[in-house]
């Protein structure tokens, strides 16, 4: 956690909102609030992870068949991209702690770029699926007719899980953009940079969801 020296005078009193007594209290509240929110996100994704577990256990052969179509290379690159983006995010928070506006903006921009790379690669993957007619719905077609129905369910869950994750990434990208704008307008000082820290937490969470998704969807039981 960041070490804020609240013994120093608060430069901008408006930074402590009227219903809080101290900057400490405000910061701790924001932090607890963000952690509680991330808990709700775990439960949200949990429903899909649960459904995925059920169907994977019910149809192991269909799963093995569909896993052939998961692009491990692209997924692997995306994993590296996201981990790097978490690194740049941490560096951004560190820059904020030091009050370095230039570095803060730099690392936020890098994080945003890496996030966009992730989304672009995701788009490529989804496009692949579209070409293969693996997007659930009226256009769905699975070559191996033995598993046609189960495959549609499994792809449905694939798109639900990765799609929900991508949606969270897009929101995260929007939030980081907001941070960049705020930083360039000198809103952050080494005494107050709470939004950077909170959105950093959010970004790490979205990263962790992917760390779970990648092995579950791409690696385990993958057949060539």
């Amino acid at each position: 956690m960041a070490e804020i020296d609240t013994s120093l005078p608060i430069h901008a009193h408006s930074e402590v909102r009227h219903h809080f007594d101290t900057a400490d209290q405000q910061f701790e509240s924001s932090t607890l609030g963000m952690w509680v929110f991330l808990l709700t996100e775990i439960m949200f994704f949990g429903g899909m992870f649960g459904s995925y577990t059920v169907y994977r256990n019910l149809y192991p052969d269909a799963f093995a068949s569909t896993s052939h179509f998961m692009n491990v290379t692209l997924g692997g690159i995306n994993t590296a991209v996201l981990i790097c983006s978490s690194l740049t995010m941490v560096l951004a928070v560190h820059a904020a702690q030091l009050g370095s506006k230039r570095k803060l903006i730099l690392f936020l921009v890098l994080t945003l770029l890496l996030g966009c790379v992730f989304l672009a690669i995701k788009y490529v993957e989804y496009h692949e699926k579209w070409v293969d007619h693996h997007i659930p719905g009226p256009g769905f077609h699975y070559a191996d007719s033995r598993y046609a129905h189960q495959a549609q369910i499994l792809f449905f869950l694939y798109f639900a899980m990765t799609g929900m994750h991508a949606l969270h990434m897009i929101v995260g990208a929007g939030l980081i953009t907001t941070l960049i704008v705020m930083a360039s307008r000198n809103r952050f000082t080494e005494h107050w940079f709470t939004p950077v820290e909170m959105i950093g937490l959010y970004w790490h969470f979205v990263d962790i969801v992917w760390i779970f998704l990648f092995p579950l969807l791409y690696l385990i039981g993958h057949t060539k």
Binding site: H19, E28, F44, G47, A160
Partner: protein
């Protein structure tokens, strides 16, 4: 010559109501007290809508052959359930009384996140608009439980629109819960330890845990439902390898804890009313506090009791049955502790206390009939019958709604600065109690006799009890209309309330003016005594 003598204008002390006027000051407020009133207004509107659907249902059930068409009736009971559960009961006490009181009770100036609080209200309204829009467009007929594959493949009604309305409203609930958790952890005044918190606050803390952990699961369930309806990928469709029972597990994983969202705040209100009107410290404070948390935790482990006849393994059912009995124990503990509080107290009979009496009686009946349903062999006969309907209306309406009304009356002076007419209020409480029992007690009998639920027409031998129930409903309706009228009247025309009309303990009565100023306190409070310290006279400064 006579001069018209004008009494000197007494400057009304600035409070949260008169500090600013105009629609912008309300719709853009971040004051938790004004937001509570915004919720009061919208929740009451939804109660009226959901209640009118109930009127339609009970009218239809006067005759065995029914009155409306089957489809119409099916839409009525579906929308009655959806509106009452998601747009009335779940928000009710937390969004109105919790929002208003929690900061004051703990000695804070507002909730931790006032702007998120306002956002919660807007999200709730948007969700509600979706649901009402769906109703205007022809309604939805899946039952509030949305079971697949009927909801995914067979229903021709506005399932997705309604589901999205509930989905959106769910986020309002999540954000309120989040706000309460952070507020209670971080914003307590000096001296307000966890052990001195009013039990109203403890119960909302437990409720918030459920809101935060459970609601996301119904959110994703509804998303999957909507996607399935659009894409027909088959996740719940047995014809293509999907499992309709998976939907039931996902649905009830939230919806069972949800019923504890719909009772814990009511229990919190009762824990405030009984000590005040017995003028005595609550008996078993620690046990009541921990019972709230225990109910929240164990409540997540019992959802399978909705699947006893659905094809669930009998071993799983056994575990769920045992846990369902276990979750009854903390509720029983509370009822006993409230009763013990009255022992050797000094009891007065103002309206809030009458509602508290009603709660204890009716919640006891509702809770005990829950035990009947937890007994597996009995549930086989009783599930999906009117017995279940009677059970949950006893706890949710006989329990929660009576607690809500009791709380509204108790804190009305604090919220409005005026007194309501006690005579009318007592009369209305009596009408509600009589009307409620006449409506719902016959339904226990109907259930054991075998009348299934969600029937627009029924076997003729069930008519007498149905007519009784409908008659009761008309009385109950009057009972609910009365407070809407006299409270609205009292808001403008009621006599000014003294600072502490009930001689109650608690920061909201003793240290916050009536009605409170925007920041709740004139000087920041410091807490030096335990909760419910009725052995000492209440401060009426």
């Amino acid at each position: 010559m006579s001069t018209t003598f004008e009494p000197p204008r007494v400057e009304e002390r600035p409070n949260y109501l008169n500090v600013d006027y105009g629609w912008k000051s309300w719709l853009f407020t971040t004051d938790h007290k004004r937001i509570a009133l915004l919720y009061l207004f919208s929740i009451t509107a939804f109660f009226v809508i959901g209640g009118s659907f109930a009127v339609g249902m009970r009218l239809n059930l006067l005759r065995p052959e029914g009155l409306f068409e089957a489809d119409t009736y099916n839409k009525l009971f579906t929308m009655h359930g959806i509106i009452m559960v998601f747009f009335f009961l779940v928000p009710s006490i937390p969004a109105v009384l919790g929002n208003f009181l929690i900061p004051i009770m703990i000695g804070a100036r507002d909730l931790a996140f006032p702007r998120i609080n306002l956002l919660s209200w807007y999200i709730y309204v948007v969700g509600g608009i979706f649901a009402v829009l769906a109703a205007f467009e022809g309604g939805v007929d899946t039952g509030w439980t949305f079971y697949a594959p009927f909801s995914t493949t067979y229903s021709n009604t506005h399932v997705i629109l309604t589901a999205m309305g509930v989905f959106v409203a769910g986020f309002s609930s999540i954000l309120t819960g989040l706000n309460f958790i952070v507020t209670i952890h971080k914003m307590r005044a000096p001296g307000m330890t966890w052990g001195r918190l009013p039990l109203f606050v403890w119960s909302h803390y437990a409720t918030a845990i459920i809101q935060v952990l459970g609601t996301p699961v119904i959110a994703i369930t509804l998303v999957l439902l909507a996607l399935e309806r659009l894409l027909h990928a088959g996740i719940f469709d047995p014809n293509v390898g999907g499992d309709p029972i998976l939907f039931q597990h996902l649905f009830w994983f939230y919806s069972h804890p949800a019923v504890y969202i719909m009772i814990l705040p009511g229990m919190g209100v009762i824990s405030e009313l009984i000590p005040c009107f017995s003028r005595k410290v609550i008996f078993g404070y620690n046990f009541i506090a921990f019972s709230s948390v225990a109910i929240a935790v164990i409540g997540f482990l019992v959802w399978g009791h909705h699947l006893f006849v659905a094809g669930q393994s009998m071993y799983a059912s056994t575990v769920f049955s045992l846990l369902s009995f276990l979750v009854a124990v903390p509720s029983a503990i509370k009822v006993f502790n409230w009763t013990a509080t009255m022992y050797r107290g000094s009891i007065s009979y103002e309206t809030p206390m009458l509602y508290a009496f009603g709660f204890i009686g009716l919640f006891t009946i509702g809770g005990l009939t829950g035990l009947v349903l937890a007994t597996m062999a009995l549930d086989v006969h009783l599930t999906d019958t009117y017995f279940v309907i009677a059970h949950f209306h006893y706890v949710m309406v006989g329990g929660m709604v009576m607690a809500y009304l009791g709380g509204i009356h108790f804190w009305f002076p604090k919220i409005s600065g005026r007194m309501y007419p006690e005579g009318w209020a007592k009369f209305a409480a009596l009408v509600v109690f009589v009307g409620f029992n006449l409506t719902f007690f016959p339904q226990f009998l109907l259930g054991y006799l075998g009348m299934p639920r969600r029937y627009h027409a029924y076997a003729p031998e069930f008519q007498i009890l149905n007519v009784m129930s409908s008659a009761g409903a008309s009385i109950l309706g009057v009972g609910y209309l009365l407070p809407m009228i006299y409270l609205a009247w009292a808001w403008r025309k009621g006599p000014k309330a003294p600072q502490n009309p009930w001689g109650a303990k608690g920061l909201e009565w003793e240290q916050s003016p009536t009605p409170p100023p925007t920041y709740n306190f004139e000087t920041p409070p410091v807490v030096t005594e335990p909760a419910y310290n009725y052995a000492e006279e209440a401060h009426v400064g």
